[in-house]
């Protein structure tokens, strides 16, 4: 937890009001973003994203599973977030459970759409191998290694980078003799299919401090927030999910305003991430 003196609080709030934040940024400026992919070679895809002192790792593992009977034509994706005590001593033991759960749910909401799977940022039907029988289950694990605010956006970015880094083994399904039996699945050793990330949204969190809202808040700034809205927006500029946090009420018109700002910011963020991801992938190939 951040312990701040009255003076410090004033300084932060005042800076935001004047569009000059304590680290020198404007309200809608991000801290430097740094992306590294393939950090966990054992996973099907992985990425590490740093935004200032916030440092997160996202990891994708694919396992063969069975589609849910309600949605036989869709694969399954599960998102879990874990906060390592390295990030914050209070995360020790079960200290991070609440935060982890909050982040997991928020990410699921932003990336996976509704319960029906409609509107999901990740194309679930591309994960089906044999309808109703075999599909890929993607397990996306986020790990917060160092936390200095804006964890949700960083995790969203890391998941996007990890997904673009993900290769799923090519699967050959033998024609099964009868429809009841389990189909024979053969995994190809050397062929990997690149996962399509064109539909994966970015998450932009606008944190309201005083009368203004800022992007990419540090933990000091977050301690001063009244409420925050996280909006996930895809490449087409469509909103895929939205979460409001914080107790204070917001005027609906402000929300609409925030969304349009978020949409604008998301384009910049998306471009920034794209270039970072491709740079990271190029780096990885060189190794």
């Amino acid at each position: 937890m951040v312990g701040l003196s009255v003076g410090e609080k004033r300084f932060i709030q005042g800076g935001i009001a004047q569009d000059l934040r304590s680290d020198g940024r404007k309200r809608l400026t991000y801290r430097p973003i740094y992306v590294e992919t393939g950090v966990i070679p054992q996973a099907n895809g992985s990425a590490r994203v740093k935004m200032g002192a916030t440092d997160v790792i996202a990891c994708v593992k694919a396992e063969l599973g069975r589609p849910s009977p309600l949605q036989p034509d869709k694969g399954k994706v599960a998102i879990f977030v874990d906060c390592s005590p390295t990030a914050e001593p209070t995360f020790e033991g079960r200290g991070a459970e609440e935060l982890s759960a909050e982040l997991s749910v928020a990410l699921q909401r932003c990336l996976l759409g509704g319960r029906s799977g409609a509107g999901a940022g990740i194309d679930l039907s591309s994960l089906v191998i044999t309808e109703g029988k075999v599909c890929w289950d993607l397990y996306i694990d986020g790990l917060v290694v160092s936390s200095d605010g804006n964890l949700l956006d960083a995790l969203g970015a890391a998941i996007m980078a990890a997904l673009s880094n993900t290769g799923i083994p090519r699967v050959l399904v033998a024609a099964s003799a009868s429809p009841d039996e389990e189909p024979e699945v053969d995994i190809s050793d050397e062929e990997y299919l690149q996962f399509d990330t064109s539909g994966v949204p970015v998450i932009v969190t606008l944190t309201k401090v005083g009368r203004h809202y800022i992007v990419d808040a540090t933990s000091e700034e977050e301690s001063q927030m009244s409420s925050a809205v996280s909006i996930s927006i895809n490449r087409q500029g469509h909103i895929c999910g939205l979460t409001k946090r914080g107790g204070a009420g917001l005027d609906p018109s402000i929300i609409v305003d925030m969304i349009s700002v978020a949409k604008h910011v998301s384009e910049q963020l998306m471009n920034k991430l794209d270039s970072e991801i491709s740079a990271a992938e190029a780096d990885e190939d060189e190794l």
Binding site: P41, Q42, A43, N44, K61, A62, E63, L64, P169, A174, S176, A177, S178, E181, E184, D186, I187, S188, D189, E190, E191, Y192
Partner: protein, 936 residues
Amino acid sequence: MLQSKVFSKRTRGGKVQKTVREVYLRDDLPCGAPFCKVCDTSKARLSPSASSPILIVDTNVVLSQIDLLENPAMDNVVVLSVVRDEVKNRNIAVFKRIETLCYNSTRNFFVFYNTLHKDTFVHDVSGESPNDRNDRAIRVATQWYQNHLGGQTRVLLITNDRENKRKATEEGISAETIESYVKSLGQPNLLDLLVKPVSEDVEMEDADALRPSKRKVLYAEHKPMSEITSGLRCKIYHQGKLRVNRYNPFEAYVGSESIGDEIIIYGRTNMNRAFDGDVVAVELLPQDQWREEKFLSIADEGEEEEEEDVHLAPNSADDALRNTNPPNSADDKNSVPCRPAGCVIGIIKRNWHSYSGSLEPLPMPAASGSIAHALFVPKDRKISKIRIQTRQLENLLDQIIVVAVDSWDRQSRYPSGHYVRKIGEIGDRNVENQAVLMENDICDEPFSRQILNCLPPLPWSVSAEDLANPIRMDLRHLLVFSVDPPGCKDIDDALHCTTLPNGNFEVGVHIADVTNFVHPGTPLDDEASQRGTSVYLVERRIDMLPKPLTEDICSLRADVERLAFSVIWEMTPQAEIISTRYTKSIIKSCAALSYVEAQARMDDSRLVDPLTTDLRDMNTLAKIMRQRRIERGALTLASAEVKFQIDTETHDPLDIGMYQIREANQMVEEFMLAANVSVAEKILKHFPLCSLLRRHPTPTKEMLEPLLRTAAAIGLNLDVTSSKALADSLDRAVGDDPYFNKLIRILATRCMTQAVYFCSGDLSPPEFHHYGLASPLYTHFTSPIRRYADVIVHRLLAASLEINKLPQIFQDRTQLTSIAENLNYRHRNAQMASRASVELHTLIYFRKRPTDEEARIVKIRSNGFIVFVPKYGIEGPVYLTPRGEKGDGEWFVDEQQQQVKKMDGSVSYSVLQSVKIHMEVVEPQPNRPKLELSLI
């Protein structure tokens, strides 16, 4: 501390789990050429002369042409690690052979670890199959060799993969097929060793032209592996090891766990190119096809009949694997339900190796030097004839040769193979023996220098240190003696018996202390462990341990001091064991008696010397012990063991007869059993998980079926519910005929399987049971000179007495299990070899002595019966109808009464009936003598 220089990662998609393995590439791996100026040449193994080319072999060449590679003409070969690994995965037997070659100091074979070398490591390229990648790795390595040795010598890639060869040539690598390379060597005989490529690969037209009939498809296609696995899963197909009936190569059994019974496979078509020992997938036939062929032999699609040979009477169910008809043979509809029959639809794992045998005589031998096609007839009747090509036919016709199987396509009746080497002339006893040894995987090579170096120097005698050793008890004052067959030189057991002041007896069994000389981990121990047992042929013995040990240092001969491992009991006069002691000891045997001598001493009432008194005391005790054992339910089984008298000069058999068992034999046997049981208890108590024990499985009802059927036919009621019940009913089975009881016992014996060694950790105590001896525990302790199991047990016993540490290997249960399996395998092979040797000598004996003899019918067939000749311990068919005809209803079988009757009822033969037969050696084909039995 070294750090890896280059670092690279390779990913492999496991099942679904992605696994990542690091590979540390090296720059310190030598190329193996002694003239290389760059690499460390201290381990170089390639030919020192740069004039002969360096051959780099592709995986397919190693896998298919291993016989050729073993020929010294092939040399200067580099085996790449990528090839080595692939061979290891594909065929472990070939892998072992290539490994032997690579570490044989007389050959210039070198393993180059291309997969770990920084310049020859290949990265995965997406879209490339593992096969293509390996091929590429081989080419990269060849290229590297070419550049590395910089034209100092020629580097040649030998591959039979057309695509690989083409790519190699494109990349500027000189590549040749194995055929063209061998041809370039100019040694035509080498070409015989070449495995012919499978038809789709390289040109084979010349061969086809000679066999126009080949186009006809004879066999059903084998199903692809994926279909087999899915079929196995949904239980349409059944998997199991195919075992061919020893007496009828067209009948086989597949033990299937999925249906809990054995599936019978009748006929060549149903067997569908499966070999004995192959793991196959079987589909069941419709039930109405379950009953078939009842003839002594099965004529298959009009081809020449296979005949049944005269052979040694089997001693156990393992020797005579269900050589009877299935119980449902007769036409009566309400007989016992049939055993399921099936056909092979795919082969999961081949059990092909090389076989010894001879070529079938040809009507018209081909001209010398040109290619001739010949049919090879393996000695092992379970194996199909094999088609081979040879350029030296005339040299091979009267030889026993070794042939390996290569392929079997759907159009050929017989599999194709290639000539490997010749053993020698047919009929030559040494050659035939050699073939027997080879067939049973028995090594009779002299012990290597390394092994002999492990022996203590000769002449050996008990040293002062041995005497001073506190673990060793000095028992030289005892009156110890041994009783063995006459002429026995490897005496591993001796006995003593003294009366104690309290009226009890002290009885000791002293076993040669072999482990005092054979230490774990030494080459001597490794070799003994491999050999597993000594092998006794009629005129020769193949030792497990070198002669100085078996016949001198360890042998408990008379009047010399020897080291022993002793089990000493205190027994009451009623033969109750009061206490048991185990100790290492020093003994001095006072007499090495033969059974006959011991018996004569006991019987001669005039003799009252201490030795004879001891013998008599022991005999009294042994009789009580024996009685008690029989009461517990131990079976007194009988087997027809024969003994030859061999001419000392010609080594020809002079006489054969049944081995006579005397009281003295039984006496020694009784104490050995008791010692084994005592030791088994002791070691199991100390090492419940890693003791080596011996068990005898209770025979299943089905196994006893032939015995019951025979017994029922003659009105004898046998109770087989327990070994005790069986023993009792066997005792009751006495007829007017003095030989009757023995005959029934012989029949009972051959229904049982053999006892086997096992590791106590692998089974639960109720399974430890020894059925035949009716003992809950048993092991082998008393013959360490000739059985390795006893050596292991000695070590266990010594460790339980805290004399030695338990060797490391006992901590590794899988290894212990594999040792037990090897011992069972060796044991079984040794017996097979002994039997084959006896059969061979029987044949030699009767060659000059056509004989009339009394025989007993043991089995009924529709065109004859099988007789057992007690005097010679042999068994064979007697035909009632001329061969070649199927009897055409002239005779019929009465299953109930086990009789074969003439249609008009005038003549009938029933089981166990005594008949007079004539035995004579005939030679229906040149060089192929066989013993024929005919009814007088």
